[in-house]
């Protein structure tokens, strides 16, 4: 199923404690039994991946409607961070039931965002 997440902030950069707003759209003819939109930060790098769901919006009537606006409020921390053995990344993700056994759900769409008081990722100043 194709789906898309579009943010109101076209450059996808938001300050901590700010709002992340946008629209999620999908094809109702191919929609699964349920869909859920999540505000998430996760880590990447040399250590075990960590995922923290900060906000959730269950989408209703997914086989009838084809889009929904959303709004999340960001917490104060953590900031987006790009390091050598650790990166902390924020995103708005759309989840639905998984087609793989042993996996209850899978990510259907994702929209990365940068969360930072300077609107630049911390750690790497080249961006």
């Amino acid at each position: 199923m194709t789906a898309a997440i579009t943010l109101r902030n076209s450059d996808n950069r938001v300050k901590p404690n700010g709002r992340v707003e946008g629209v999620v759209s999908w094809d109702p003819a191919r929609a699964p039994a349920w869909l859920e939109l999540r505000l998430v930060w996760h880590t990447e790098g040399k250590g075990t991946r960590e995922v923290m769901v900060v906000g959730r919006v269950p989408l209703t009537d997914v086989r009838v409607a084809n889009q929904r606006t959303f709004s999340f409020t960001l917490p104060a921390m953590p900031y987006t961070y790009h390091g050598r053995i650790l990166s902390i990344m924020w995103s708005v993700d759309l989840f639905g039931p998984s087609r793989r056994l042993l996996q209850r759900e899978e990510q259907l769409a994702t929209q990365p965002i940068v969360v930072s008081p300077t609107l630049q990722p911390f750690g790497d100043r080249r961006e």
Binding site: E44, G45, K46, R49, H82, G83, L101, D124
Partner: protein, 184 residues
Amino acid sequence: MRAHENPFRLSRVDSLRFRGEQVPALAATLRLRGYRGAVVGPEGSGKSTLLREIAEHLEHDGQRVRIVRFDDLAALVTALVDRGAVWLIDGAERIPLPLRAVLTASLRSVVITTHTPATGLPLLVRCATTPALLTDLLGDLHGPTLSAAEVERLFDASRGNLRLAFRFLYDMSAQDFVGAFLAR
């Protein structure tokens, strides 16, 4: 190179599929043996990866599957009373011998990963690593291209432990000099 761009970051390494014996055939063998067996091999040889894929196939068989780590004491104790599931125990050699003996003797359906074959369970498969396997996996990770000699050197330096090899490549990629280091 930033951590989330490193081709050898842990989330990518963990997503590699098991190479070697055909997993469906192994699952079929397990079925014939009443879902009892041991996956044997040294560290970094793919045992945990294989265990996860076997679990998928057993679920497809309609079995209720539980994967537990050696240090999840609560789950191991639960295994003694929940006889309906197939218990897959990762790192069984780290479980104290008395508890391990009780688990393998009393559980109806149990598959373990372990370093040594003497487990009281029938050997399902022996995992082993080779430089060719490392080359194959490196292809999936889309990291820097290594020559056969470089792969051989890396394999020897990590003593066949593929996780160690990937960790080494992570460090080298982070500092952007994989080729230069392996050339020494």
